[in-house]
């Protein structure tokens, strides 16, 4: 891992370009060119320098250990070696960068958008799809179980109708059949298989055996025709389906999903633009592929809703009923095949069966939210069916009359026919029960699979929310230790599957953070949330970019941000940019205080031109700059800088030692601060060595401070000053600063009034300076 970088530069000098370069390198895009109102922006057009084009863009990054050099251009992406794959995988999401513009994104977004942002950070977008497919599998099996059960119930109802007695099981059916046989003075059955023996007996005695078969056939067909019923629920289901599907087709339900709205607009934009380029970033894409992906995503989002789930359930059930009815009509048609007189009717029945199968297909499509069902067509087919069944039954009856079965045989033939029908139905029930057992088992398993997945997913997301919340609270209380705002919570909103609520306790009540927190508080909350996510989810990518994120936060809290980063992110490689000189100095001071200055490079953008871009140089401390000026012979510059340095040092000493300069409005200058600082130190310090050193420092300063005055104004005497004299003044200022600064960590000393000691306030400092006071 390389060093962290702290970069200072004024606005417009290119600080953010560095952050953007890393974003482009790892993700291939730039988030500043995405989102609302960016239609006129194009990555390929607007990212390159004004004097160059996209083919000249190269971002090169070297990774250590191993000095692995990788590049990204518009046409090529970096190909990381195996040891860097996880790093790139994590960085690819782009969640390692925080910019000022994004800092409030999380805090002010709506719960559904917040959830989607979290899902994207966590990399769990796919899980919604998996859960949906498991739900659909369970619903399909459950629907099939319900249909099977209904089918068995229907079959027993048919048996009951035939036997004219309520029948709920096969044994009952056999008992009732035997009663009929006894009544007709025929042999009873031990099982339904015995009915073949009865038919054989009858064949032996009935004279016209061919006619007997014909008669039994006609009676069978007649019986089946009489039994054929259309399930009343089918028509009702079809209407219900159309009613529920309407809002989906009109897009009303979609508008509840804000992402759906965006995708619908995106779809229109892509359709209208005939070029093979992304309308957002201008990159080359396959338009057809993009359209396909947007449509698929829209489909998934629609299907996620509970309403869609209900539609699927009704559609599965109705599809089964229609297929079952079509099957029964086909069976009857098969029975009619040997009967030439009923050839036309058979053809028409087959036609209706075909229409019902087609309708079942349309019902399936309705379940997929692809279109409404033609209920009128169904009604027309049912009217046709009713007429056809009636006509066929009348024809069969007429044919029976023509054969002229003897009266005593009529009841026997009818009884045998009845038994055959009951036998067939009982056989159907047995098969259906076997099939039901299997389907019930499958359904129970698929229910367990779906429910378990749903529970685990929800619990895991909650666990993640809780762990993030823990860190957010820890970081936030570090920044605002005695605040009225605390106990931040991130929750899955109750009753909603994809929603994340953010709450904060303010003045005793839990509210949206925007209710009571100031802009600075919201900014620091946004920062804490970002850092908590980065810590939890960026995994192998321990690189964080903070691009000018402390604008609205005051100096005291900015100091605490320094402490937060130093304590909790010391194993991270940070790129921090700022225009704020004070925060920059604070961060440098904290690097020293925490002993991590060795792992930072502090740089400054000292200039910018269109041709060169930012001109970056190592940061020079104030003393470094003064020394450089003296070396270069710039006496005025050095003295001027030293004078400002002295004002700063004296101000710090007055604050640290609780000196009392004369109150005035406006800025305090050297003359306002020098005497009060000296007098206070004289009275305060007990330790003789330290006191002597300080007073000697003040003495030297008083002897040389005139240099600062002379060279800071337009003074003819300034020409006569020597570099040696100016250097002496500068060194006196620097020495005074060094006297009050910890030699180990560079922190300014602090006066602890209660203990009457001056000490280094950095608890980590090894030096443990301790100066006695009066």
């Amino acid at each position: 891992m390389g060093k962290s970088l702290l970069l200072r530069g004024e606005n417009g000098t290119g600080k953010s370009s560095l952050a953007e370069a890393f974003e482009f390198f790892f993700t291939g895009g730039l988030s500043v060119f995405e989102g609302k109102g960016t239609q006129s922006l194009s990555l390929q057009k607007h990212m390159p320098h004004k004097n160059f084009d996209k083919d000249n863009v190269v971002v090169a990054v070297t990774f250590d250990p191993g000095s692995i050099a990788l590049e990204r251009t518009f046409s090529d992406q970096p190909a990381p070696p195996k040891q860097l794959e996880d790093y790139f995988q994590a960085a690819r999401r782009g969640t390692f960068i925080l910019r000022r513009a994004q800092i409030l994104k999380f805090v002010v977004s709506v719960p559904a958008d917040r959830f989607r942002a979290i899902a994207s950070i966590l990399g769990i977008e796919r899980l919604d799809n998996v859960e949906l497919e498991m739900k659909r599998a369970y619903e399909e099996l459950d629907g099939a179980v319900c249909s099977k059960r209904d089918g068995i119930k229907d079959t027993f109802e048919q048996i009951s109708t035939l036997l004219r007695k309520r029948t709920t099981n096969a044994k009952q059916a056999l008992d009732f059949v035997n009663k009929s046989l006894k009544k007709a003075k025929m042999t009873t059955l031990r099982s339904f298989d015995d009915v073949d023996n009865i038919e054989d007996e009858m064949l032996k005695t009935f004279k016209k055996s061919a006619d007997f078969e014909h008669v039994t056939k006609l009676n069978d067909v007649l019986g089946k025709l009489k039994l054929l019923r259309v399930d009343d629920e089918i028509a009702g289901n079809l209407h219900a389906l159309n009613k529920k599907i309407g809002p989906f087709l009109e897009g009303n339900a979609r508008s509840e999903l804000s992402l759906t709205e965006f995708l619908v607009k995106g779809l229109e934009a892509v359709k209208d633009d005939e070029k093979d380029a992304c309308p957002l970033c201008g990159q080359d894409v396959s338009r057809q592929e993009l359209l396909k992906q947007i449509n698929e995503r829209l489909k998934t989002l629609s299907q996620l809703s509970d309403e869609a789930s209900e539609v699927r359930q009704i559609s599965t059930e109705t599809e089964e009923k229609l297929s079952s009815l079509a099957g029964k009509i086909e069976e009857i048609s098969e029975e009619l095949e040997p009967l030439d007189e009923l050839k036309n009717k058979r053809k028409k029945l087959l036609g209706i069966s075909k229409s019902l199968k087609k309708l079942a297909g349309e019902v399936n499509s309705a379940g997929e939210l692809e279109g409404k069902v033609p209920t009128k067509a169904f009604d027309q087919e049912m009217t046709k069916l009713e007429k056809l069944v009636k006509a066929s039954a009348e024809k069969c009856q007429a044919m029976l009359e023509k054969i002229g079965v003897p009266k005593d045989w009529k009841s026997k033939v009818q009884t045998v026919s009845l038994i055959n029908q009951v036998k067939s139905l009982v056989g159907e029930v047995a098969k259906a029960k076997e099939s039901l057992k299997t389907k019930e088992k499958h359904s129970a398993l698929s229910k367990k699979v779906y429910q378990t997945f749903s529970k685990v997913k929800k619990a895991k997301i909650k666990e993640i929310y809780d762990s993030i919340t823990g860190n957010v609270n820890a970081f936030y209380s570090m920044l605002h230790p005695k605040d009225a705002h605390k106990n931040i919570e991130l929750n899955i909103a109750s009753g909603r599957r994809a929603s994340a609520e953010l709450k904060m306790e303010s003045f005793g009540s839990k509210e949206d953070p925007r209710a009571f927190a100031s802009e600075g508080h919201l900014d620091s909350l946004g920062l804490c949330i970002f850092l908590a996510f980065a810590k939890r989810f960026n995994g192998p990518c321990n690189f964080i970019v903070l691009d000018d994120v402390v604008t609205t936060i005051d100096a005291q809290h900015r100091g605490r941000i320094c402490k937060l980063l130093s304590q909790h992110f010391k194993d991270y490689q940070l790129l921090i940019t700022t225009h704020d000189a004070v925060w920059f100095e604070q961060l440098c001071a904290h690097q020293r205080a925490f002993g991590i200055d060795g792992s930072f490079r502090n740089m400054e953008i000292v200039g910018w031109t269109l041709e060169t871009g930012p001109i970056i140089e190592p940061y020079k401390t104030r003393w470094d700059r003064i020394e450089a000026r003296i070396k270069s012979g710039d006496k005025s510059g050095a003295a001027n800088e030293a004078r400002r340095y002295l004002e700063w040092v004296l101000r710090k000493i007055c604050v640290a030692a609780m000196a009392r300069p004369i109150l005035k409005e406006g800025r305090y200058t050297v003359s306002d601060l020098l005497t009060p600082a000296k007098e206070r130190i004289k009275k305060l310090i007990k330790d003789n060595d330290f006191r002597e050193r300080v007073l000697k420092g003040f003495q030297e300063l008083e002897a040389t401070v005139i240099m600062g005055n002379l060279l800071s104004h337009d003074n003819p005497e300034a020409e006569n000053t020597s570099t040696v004299e100016v250097n002496r003044f500068c060194e006196a200022v620097h020495e005074l600063n060094n006297t009050f600064t910890c030699p180990d960590c560079g922190t300014l000393f602090k006066y602890y009034q209660d203990m009457k000691r001056i000490r280094c306030p950095n608890s980590r400092c090894k030096q443990q300076i301790d100066i006695a006071c009066k």
Binding site: M1, F63, Q83, L84, D86, Y87, Q89, A90, L122, G123, I124, R126, L127, N129, V130, E133, M134, R136, A137, E140, L141, K441, H442, L445, S446, K448, V449, T452, F453, K455, V456, K457, K460, I464, F537, G539, P540, C541, N542, D571
Partner: protein, 66 residues
């Protein structure tokens, strides 16, 4: 880089999911077929899930007979 191998949230969820399936007495053959689907990135399909359940139950029945 700190050389750390990340277990993604998705992997974490699936690991726990397959473990829990064992505790709700799902036949191991069914769990294994579902696992194979996930490993081959084919779990986002109702048809695949239905097939996997069928296959898993068939295998479980075969093992029971033996």
């Amino acid at each position: 880089m700190n050389g750390q191998k990340s277990v993604s949230v998705e992997e974490d969820i699936f690991k726990e999911f397959f473990r829990r399936l064992g505790t709700v007495k799902l036949p191991s053959e069914v769990i294994n077929t579902l696992k194979k689907l996930w490993e081959s990135d084919r779990l986002e399909s109702k048809e695949n899930i239905l097939k996997a359940l069928e296959e898993g139950i068939e295998n479980a029945n075969k093992h029971q007979k033996h």
